[in-house]
C-alpha cells in the first residue's frame, strides 16, 4: 500500500513532496559520500606516507643494538613485515648554490629498500635510485632538492657535531653525494627529509643510544597484538611503542577534522528528515478519511501507521541506493569531472572574451596532481543506513497522529 501511495502521490501532484524528498536525500547522500571519499583520500594518503616512510608502525627503543639471532626471531613473528635499525637526527644542510636549511636525517641500512616493501611503494625516484652503498651517499626529498638547487651527482654539506661529550662538541662539515631524489607526495617529507647510510648517521649525527628499531606490520591496526608478541622477546631495557601513541596528536586532529565534516554534512539528513516529516503530515491530513476507514474495517492504529512508516522507509531506501550509486560514480570520476568542468568554463570564458578562467585542481596550485579518493565500505554502509534511518524516523514521528484519528469521523463525514 505504501508503494501505491507513493505512486499515487506522484501521479496526482506531478513533482510531489515524495519525489522532492527522494531528490534531496539522494543529493545529501551523494555529497556526503563524495566528501568522505576525498577526505579519506587525503588523510589516509598522508597517514600511510607517514607510517610507511617516516614513523613506522612500531618502535623499539633500546640502548644497545640487537643481536642477529634476536633480530631474526623478531622478523619471524607472525604479522611482522620488516624490522630495520634506524637513527633519526636533525641538522643543517647546504649546497653550493643555497643558504643552509634545516633537514631531518634518517640513517638506515642500505638494504632497507629490499627489506621494506612500504618504502618501495611510497618512494618514487624522480632522479637516480635507492643507492646508499657508499658511506657518503645521500637521498633527498624532491622539494628539498629544488630548494637547494641540486640534482643527482651534486655534493651537499651537512653540519655534524662531533666530540667525546656535550661540552666538547665541535661543528664539522661532512660532504655527501646525492644519489637519488625521491617524492612521496607528502610535502613535509619531500621538503625536509633525507636518507643516509646507518653507519654514517651513527658516526656523525647520533650515538648508539639514539638507535631504535622500526617495525612495519602486515596490518597496522593489529599493533597491540604484535606488541604483546614482541615484548617477551626483548631485553628488559628495551621499550616498544605503537604508531597510535607517537602520532596521536596529528592523527587525532585528522580524525577530528573528518568527524566535524561528517557532522556538518550529516545535518542535511536532519533537514531532509524535516521535509519528509512535513510532507507525510500533509499526506496524513489528506488521507484522514482513508485512515479512518482502514481503522473502521479492523486495521489497528499501529498497522495503519506501519503503511505510512513503510512509505518513509521506501523513500529512504530509494534515496540511499540512488545516493550511494551517484556518490560512488562522482567520487570515482571526480578528477575527470573537475577537468571537464574546467575545460568547459575556460571554453565559455574564451567565447565571451573574458580574461578570467576557472582554475581547477592543478599541480601548479596544489602539491598533488590529482584529488586522491578512497571509499571505505563501512562508511558507505553507514551513510546508507543513516539515509534510511533519517527518513524512517521522520515518518515514525509524523505518523504518531494516526493513532489519534477516530474512525467515527468517516461515518460522520458521510
Amino acid at each position: 500500500m505504501a508503494g501505491r501511495y507513493l505512486k499515487a502521490s506522484r501521479r496526482d501532484k506531478g513533482l510531489s513532496s515524495a519525489v522532492l524528498s527522494i531528490v534531496s536525500l539522494t543529493l545529501g547522500v551523494m555529497a556526503l559520500l563524495t566528501v568522505l571519499g576525498v577526505m579519506n583520500g587525503f588523510q589516509l594518503g598522508f597517514m600511510e606516507n607517514i607510517l610507511e616512510v617516516s614513523s613506522t608502525h612500531l618502535r623499539i627503543s633500546t640502548p644497545e643494538q640487537f643481536s642477529l639471532p634476536l633480530e631474526d626471531k623478531l622478523k619471524a613473528l607472525p604479522g611482522i613485515r620488516s624490522l630495520l635499525p634506524l637513527v633519526d637526527s636533525q641538522t643543517l644542510v647546504k649546497s653550493s648554490y643555497s643558504s643552509p636549511q634545516g633537514a631531518f636525517i634518517r640513517g638506515l641500512p642500505p638494504q632497507a629498500w629490499e627489506e621494506d616493501e612500504g618504502l618501495k611503494k611510497h618512494l618514487t625516484f624522480l632522479e637516480g635510485s635507492w643507492d646508499l652503498a657508499q658511506s657518503n651517499n645521500i637521498l633527498l626529498g624532491s622539494e628539498m632538492s629544488r630548494r637547494l638547487g641540486v640534482s643527482v651527482g651534486d655534493s651537499l654539506s651537512l653540519l655534524a657535531l662531533t666530540g667525546p661529550k656535550f661540552s666538547l662538541l665541535q661543528p664539522r662539515n661532512v660532504e655527501f653525494t646525492i644519489t637519488g631524489i625521491f617524492k612521496t607526495g607528502y610535502l613535509e617529507l619531500d621538503a625536509g627529509w633525507a636518507f643516509i647510510p646507518l653507519e654514517s648517521a651513527l658516526e656523525f649525527f647520533a650515538g648508539e643510544e639514539d638507535l631504535f628499531y622500526g617495525i612495519k606490520l602486515e596490518n597496522p591496526e593489529l599493533d597491540y597484538g604484535a606488541m604483546d608478541q614482541i615484548k617477551p622477546l626483548l631485553p628488559p631495557t628495551a621499550t616498544v611503542q605503537s604508531w597510535r601513541e607517537y602520532n596521536s596528536s596529528f592523527f587525532g586532529a585528522l580524525r577530528m577534522e573528518k568527524t566535524a565534516m561528517m557532522i556538518l554534512i550529516g545535518l542535511i539528513f536532519i533537514i531532509v528528515g524535516g521535509n519528509i516529516f512535513q510532507s507525510l503530515r500533509r499526506t496524513l491530513r489528506e488521507r484522514e478519511e482513508e485512515i479512518g476507514l482502514l481503522k473502521a474495517v479492523g486495521g489497528s492504529g499501529s498497522r495503519v501507521r506501519f503503511i505510512f512508516l513503510f512509505e518513509g522507509f521506501i523513500i529512504g531506501l530509494v534515496s540511499g541506493t540512488l545516493g550511494v550509486g551517484l556518490g560512488l560514480l562522482l567520487s570515482g570520476n571526480i578528477n575527470e569531472i573537475l577537468s571537464g568542468t574546467q575545460t568547459l568554463v575556460s571554453f565559455i570564458s574564451h567565447l565571451g572574451a573574458s580574461e578570467e578562467s576557472l582554475s581547477g585542481f592543478t599541480s601548479q596550485l596544489f602539491y598533488l596532481d590529482r584529488i586522491p579518493v578512497r571509499i571505505l565500505t563501512h562508511e558507505v554502509v553507514l551513510v546508507f543506513v543513516f539515509a534510511i534511518l533519517s527518513s524512517t524516523i521522520s515518518s515514525w514521528l509524523a505518523t504518531r497522529t494516526v493513532e489519534d484519528i477516530k474512525p467515527a469521523t468517516v461515518l460522520r463525514a458521510e
Binding site: 499515487a8 479492523g298 461515518l411
Partner: protein, 227 residues
C-alpha cells in the same frame, strides 16, 4: 448466543452548556442469522446507534454486547479485533481506497485480520463473483460505476465472515436500478453467509423487505413490523 444485545443504552453529547440526549434507555436484541431494519427521521440518532454498535463511539450509560463480549467495555486495542472479525460495515458512501483495485479493496480487511494473502485473495474473488464483479476485480474504484463500487463495499464487509453486518443507508447514494440490484445482493448474501444484519435506512420499501423492523423515535427503538 445472541449476536447483539443492547441494554439500557444512553448516549448524550455536550452542546455548549446543554446536554443533548440522543439515545436513552434503549434495549435491543438480535439473534444469529436475524435481519432487522431500523428506520427513523433524520437526526433521530440512527448513525449514532450504528457508531456505538460498531465500537466507533462509547455509550454514556448502558452496555452493548456482541457474541457474549461486552464491546462497550473493550479498550481501543481490542476494538479493532472486534471490528475486524465480528463486524462487517457497509456505509452510504462506498469508501473504497482509490489506489487499490476492487480485489485488493475486498481482501485488505481479511489480510489485516491475519488471513493468509492467498486465502484472502481466494475469498475476495469468490465474494466478487457473488456480487457479479469477477470481470471487474482488477479495476480501480475510479473505473467502476456507483452501484459496482457499493457491491465491492458489500463484498469487503463480508470478507472475514462476520457474525454481524451493519449497513447504514447502503443504497442512499444510488439510482433506482442500482439500488434494487444492491438490495437484492445484500439480502441474498446475508442469507447465504448466515450473517445477522442491522440495516439502517430511510427507504421504507427496503425496510419492508426485512422480516423485522424497528423505528428509532423518542430516543428508543420501537418494534414496528406493521410498517
Amino acid at each position: 448466543m445472541s449476536v447483539l444485545v443492547i441494554e439500557s443504552l444512553k448516549k448524550t453529547y455536550q452542546s455548549g452548556r446543554d446536554e443533548l440526549v440522543i439515545l436513552e434507555d434503549l434495549d435491543f436484541h438480535l439473534g444469529p442469522g436475524e435481519a432487522v431494519a431500523i428506520t427513523g427521521d433524520s437526526g433521530c440518532g440512527k448513525s449514532t446507534l450504528m457508531n456505538l454498535i460498531a465500537g466507533l463511539d462509547t455509550p454514556t450509560k448502558g452496555t452493548i454486547s456482541s457474541c457474549g463480549r461486552e464491546i462497550s467495555a473493550l479498550p481501543e486495542s481490542k476494538l479493532h479485533d472486534y471490528r475486524s472479525l465480528s463486524l462487517g460495515l457497509v456505509f452510504q458512501f462506498h469508501f473504497l481506497l482509490k489506489e487499490l483495485t476492487a480485489l485488493e479493496n475486498v481482501f485488505l480487511p481479511g489480510w489485516m485480520a491475519g488471513m493468509k494473502k492467498a486465502e484472502a485473495q481466494d475469498r475476495a474473488l469468490s465474494l466478487l463473483a457473488s456480487v457479479g464483479l469477477t470481470e471487474r476485480s482488477h479495476h480501480y474504484p475510479g473505473e467502476l460505476s456507483g452501484g459496482e463500487r457499493q457491491r465491492v463495499a458489500l463484498a469487503r464487509a463480508l470478507i472475514n465472515r462476520p457474525p454481524l453486518l451493519l449497513a447504514d443507508e447502503p443504497t442512499g447514494n444510488l439510482d433506482e436500478s442500482s439500488s434494487s440490484a444492491v438490495e437484492d445482493l445484500l439480502l441474498d448474501m446475508v442469507k447465504n453467509e448466515g450473517t445477522s444484519l442491522v440495516l439502517v435506512t430511510h427507504d421504507l420499501a427496503l425496510a419492508q423487505r426485512l422480516p423485522v423492523r424497528y423505528r428509532l423515535e423518542h430516543r428508543k427503538l420501537w418494534r414496528h413490523d406493521g410498517l
